[in-house]
Symmetry: D2
């Protein structure tokens, strides 16, 4: 059985770390290249000691070289803005999965508003498919370029797509989302300084989170008639991994919890990684896994939907591998079926 | 300077623990009695080792005895339902501050719906004043019986009162509230088992939290014209102390952040314990203190208000002492001015 | 490829939970039976929601029935003392791996001293092999009954065996060991109540931990000439998973760090799950894995050895499966090669 | 009642933060000056939001100006090495309490070995008194210059002084010490990055911690006949505040727990801030306080002593204020009697 030759550009951050954790054990993959400029020449397991004994890979520099031509699939886990510079130079034969936000948004103006820089490769952006398999499975399977969704966006869209598709909501939707500290990346910073972050809780980026427009864009693709607004408020929780999104909708007419459940079951009937839970999910149950756990409660016309994912797995690296599986014709869950711990 | 003689019925839980932490150092108070049936006869600092060297008090049994007649003020920190049985037997001369939910609700049907038992002393309930000083300062000062607010209710009401009073909102309001594990009390339970609670995040009591009706009742007293609904969703966060409430409102017309700030400044201009912060508050900054930190952000007609309090202080014991200060004519902040730690 | 039919008696605790997490994905195993008296008839994934979508197993009652005869291997993850009552009744053809302390100690008096009850099956105990593969690999491979080591004992023995074998230490050895809260089990208790355990640190069971005698017994088997004492002091750390043991030895003569390293390398040269690290290990790097990371530092004749393991994996369920692999002739690491997360 | 005019040089770190938290509420103190070069001109409560509403102070620059002459007492909470440069220029009339390590060690060679730079003011060092009140109360009371002890050193010395003084131990002593992340300061760094530090445990600075020599120097002053070695191993625990030190001694002859207790009681009979606890202390009980809780256990000739302190209070700022109290003739506990929280 021939293996897919993959490379990871930007393998020293948490996205890269998770890609390695998954891809090194993927039965259909050979990891041929991992780059990290600041660690070039260093063993990968010196930077990711969890991988000691499990790999002899050495970090290369992040350059576009002939070496890339030998690859089948390239994961870009670079800082926002780097893919934009790089993608045009990549060999045509290589499929690309970009974990950054550079190619998620169709609208250049919206991109500039939320990312603070003009988009310099919009014509290329047209070729990218938004890589949320539960929404876009068919298009992903035949794509060469994938824009892997943002972590918050993954949670929010999964919680709303069945409702938006069936048009059962009215008015603007409120999403109150909470994330663990790993979402801020591997570089120490004030808001992830342990003395500050442990035991704390605070909100950030009010009305300005860059994942909002990809949520709206995707939900409008699910149902073009949905034109209502959506408020996405992000919060920092004192945990390392996990996103928990609470989504508040007004229904058009009273529904029972079972009716809501039917919408979700129908929409996700063939989705291995979506688990519908009868009560609230808990980030602990999805931690370190590619599952998205969804629960809900209803009272008259008020509906609240709860979604829990691991921001680094279903919200980043795991979803990227799920996309790769689809693109290369593997079973969607290949290499991704591992349970979280309890506790 | 004569001191107020106080007693605490139910001094072994976290509410009682915090009352002791504050009252033992209050310059106008002498703690004469602390009860805890399961610890009767035991030194208080055996149950609360943080108080070693700081008190020689010994737990008494929780009984209505003649001893109570010598007291000026009685704090009830008993399980829900116990005050209901007890209050009628208390000596008339003693002021009472009840930290439980037994006497907060005016409507017996609503009480029964949310607390699962009929209210058996509604005529007495009429004499209780809802002890949220920032809302009810005058009435508290002349009351003999105080129903100390719930922790969530305190945070939610403080974040909404200025908006409701001025009538600037329209439609139903969404409150997404998060609490630390100390809110569940001192008794070990499944949801506060450390292996489960650490690193976790989950929702609970959807559309059913018992603090909802006291929020609605109080806001309608602030502005009887406000008849819109309010959704209160509570969540368990992996921290010990603190409540963080994110409140989402639709404004009647677009307002600036400064205009919102003016409403809050006017409403709270003489409120020592309310601090208006330019950005999101953080539970870390209010932990162990009686402060309520309030921040907000606005975008067109969408407003989000953030409130952080310590659930055991401003959300329980600190507020109870603030009420006592008002009732006995002391300065409101007496014995309550201590900063939180940093970190 | 025929699969080994395994059963788990006592599948609702954390040991059972980890066994399921590993065995359900073990390529050579079929899990045929899981018991838990308090959950009999309930789906396994209702008790372990991390396993939703991954198993349809239902808990059976913990009884010795004919059903057991169809099994090849039985894991006992019962409370201490239960195996003692049960083992004699188990079918002879079934191999047994007991995760409790019931059959670890050869000396009935020592057992009684540390476990507070007389040993009622000492003749059976003689047939048990102490299941620490890095020390006892050969004997395990041909055993039918395995006493799986305690979590602290695993860490302490792995850190000391190479030193004791080569006789380089003198005098009594001090072990300062720290554990996460999951070591106390799945049942809520005072010392694992989140408000108490989070942010805390304390010692417990001074000079009395029941893992001490199995450490001494095993090290004396490694080198019968070693007759010095060993102090094992256990501490509770505010984390969920992980044991970190710091072991202080006086050397007979000054040695370099390299010389110490050579001892460890030689002793563990064929041990996949022991990783020698140049600096201190970190429980984060071994969390959720079967690895034992060992580091050390030396200054003249003073040596300190640091060992980090996951108490539930290498300290319990993972090691049990490692034993099963040896007993059934599989590669030692089969089903156990998964990396920890980073972060 | 005239107040002592104090200044804090270096008020933006955690040491400075704690000094402010205490001194702003000290009944005999007026805080006249706080400096922080990077925040000069900024309000203090912008950097320490826990102090909002509690101070209007503004950070000044850290320069030796005439302004200092108006002060009575100066706290230096500067990075290591800065006091060394500064102290000679300070006005003679001002008492100085230095929280850094610059003036703790009498021996220039030892200083250079542990701090990596030559000591350039040894003649001045002779005038500094080591500010551990429980050991040096008399000398502190008449000193003008105080070297405030290190946080680990405080815990270790308090646990050993009664034993060393009475000469009951033999052989080298092992100290296994654990600290919270606040001990690493307010500046974000790799080892205090929340995703790494939460849930982790690791050792650092084996045989090389700079607090070791001040422990040895102080214990030898307590009993010049004590010439045995001491191993101090420091560890990072996943908590914010607190040091927990476990100290292992061999006694010269068997002693009972009561006999050990008598030694401690006698030595600390007039020490308000030392609390002897019958079982292990817990950092939770001393968090945010100036207390040092000490427990112990004995088995034959093996003794283990446990000490818990808050590294930022008794281990830094609280102890500094305790020293100030002694120097200015106040009661030792003035402004320092606040209980920790429970929980």
């Amino acid at each position: 059985m021939e293996k897919v030759k993959v490379g990871i550009l930007g393998g020293s951050g948490y996205g890269g770390s998770e890609l390695l954790r998954i891809l090194l054990f993927h039965p259909r993959v050979e990891v041929c290249l991992v780059t990290a400029n600041e660690h070039a020449g260093k063993r990968v397991d010196h930077v990711h000691p969890n991988l000691r004994r499990l790999t002899d890979l050495v970090f290369a520099e992040t350059v576009v070289s002939d070496e890339l031509k030998a690859l089948d699939c390239l994961f870009l886990a670079l800082p926002h803005g780097e893919s934009l510079k790089l993608v045009r130079q990549l060999p045509e034969r290589v499929t690309v999965i970009d974990l950054a936000g550079d190619f998620r948004l169709n609208d250049g103006d919206v991109f500039e508003e939320y990312y603070g820089r003009p988009h310099t490769a919009l014509e290329l952006q047209r070729q990218f498919v938004y890589g949320l398999p539960e929404i876009n499975r068919q298009r992903i399977a035949s794509a060469r370029l994938i824009a892997n969704p943002g972590c918050f966006a993954t949670a929010v869209i999964l919680g709303l797509a069945p409702l938006i598709e069936s048009g059962v909501t009215q008015g603007r939707i409120i999403v109150d989302a909470k994330t663990g500290s790993s979402g801020s990346g591997a570089k120490p910073a004030a808001n992830t300084h342990h003395p500050k972050r442990a035991n704390s809780f605070f909100a950030y980026k009010a009305f300005a989170h860059q994942h909002l427009p990809e949520v709206v864009q995707t939900l409008r693709a699910v149902n073009p008639e949905w034109q209502e607004g959506l408020v996405l408020q992000t919060h920092s929780a004192p945990m390392v991994r996990g996103i928990f999104a609470s989504t508040y909708c007004m229904l058009r007419r009273p529904m029972t919890s079972e009716q809501i459940g039917d919408l979700f079951k129908r929409y996700y009937h063939d989705c291995f990684f979506v688990r519908l839970v009868g009560e609230s999910p808990d980030v602990n149950w999805v931690k370190n896994t590619n599952f998205a756990d969804i629960g809900w409660a209803v009272s008259g016309m008020d509906l609240v939907v709860f979604v829990a994912i691991d921001n680094l797995v279903k919200g980043a690296a795991g979803q990227a591998v799920q996309n790769m599986n689809l693109m290369f014709g593997f079973e969607e869950q290949t290499g991704l079926v591992f349970p979280g711990g309890h506790p």
